[in-house]
Symmetry: C2
Subunit: 197 residues, 2 copies
């Protein structure tokens, strides 16, 4: 059985989106470089070998993806007919609708909450890992839920001052720092969630 | 003329103190190891050579220290008669009182606000740097003020969920990542503040 891991880009002050859901500067590390990595119909342009290595690892370990409905809505247009996901996606939503198949992936709409979405994603992922990719509300729920095994943050040197916060209020979590990889304009960090049980 | 730099330990979710001003787990990296560094009457116990190198650099570059009144009040007792500061300290306060000399340092109480305290500290520091050491309110003001040249964060793998926040709301700041040094249970990070002028 694989791990459940949150994989998200954040500003130094803990925002995963600026005002009006703006992520352009936060996600610049994925699109502003010369090293091309393709996935589905998507093309990513990384700046450094460290970024590319991290990105390829993400692709190869992902057995299923969990996302919020807002992320799905915001992403649908840019992702197009061949979305850049290496595995089936599970969308946490209040509205039941049939699974959509697109390119090499599929989007299954889960009305039973985040926990149920993670459960279904685990089944789909087999031995690979479940990537919880956000947005902010899904990330906050995931951190609070105790269901994460790992938190991976791509920390961008920006203080945004406003936007969508990554960390939920009121839920302390003990972590173990497992990987810190500096790059240009971003640091890739991984933390294991220390479970008290 | 030296730099003005914020030097502070923060949780991953951006708290520089937990509930009730608790900093025990945040500052553990300074006290839980075997590598002893002395300054004034203070004794620090670092875990790794990376921590010790960072700490010694801090001591040698500091020409003056700026702190808030609450930090001074909370520190006075543990710091004792020979406080662990390598340079004169300037305390931002509302209450005028005479300078206190203690051990190798002194505490000058500045009623003209943070900007005035930094001005006096710059004069005292000469070619060395001015360290703004917090607490939270002073750190927030310093980030908002535009007076910082550098932000140094010692990031501890904890999600506290509540406490005193490091980052002020509503003030975007553009940074350049200049140093990321992972250690055990802490990562030392430095960012240059990109000034638009």
């Amino acid at each position: 059985m694989g791990l459940v891991w949150l994989n998200i880009t954040t500003s130094l002050d803990g925002f995963v989106a600026g005002p009006n859901d703006d992520v352009e500067r936060l996600h610049e590390w994925l699109f502003a470089g010369d090293i091309v990595v393709r996935q589905g119909g998507g093309e990513f342009h990384l700046r450094t070998e460290a970024d590319a290595k991290n990105f390829r690892e993400m692709l190869s370990r992902t057995g299923a993806v969990v996302m919020g409905k807002r992320t799905f809505d915001l992403g649908s247009e840019p992702w197009g007919d061949d979305p850049p996901f290496p595995a089936p996606c599970f969308v946490v939503t209040h509205e039941a609708r049939p699974t959509v198949k697109k390119g090499k992936t599929s989007f299954t709409f889960v009305t039973g909450g985040l926990e149920r979405a993670i459960e279904l994603a685990k089944d789909a992922a087999g031995a690979k890992d479940v990537q919880v990719m956000g947005g902010a509300s899904t990330a906050q729920q995931a951190i609070s839920s105790g269901l994460l095994d790992e938190i991976e943050l791509h920390v961008v040197p920006l203080i945004l001052g406003e936007g969508k916060r990554l960390f939920p209020d009121g839920t302390p979590v003990q972590l173990e720092q497992t990987q810190i990889v500096p790059s240009i304009g971003v640091t890739h960090t991984r933390y294991r969630v220390v479970k008290s049980s």
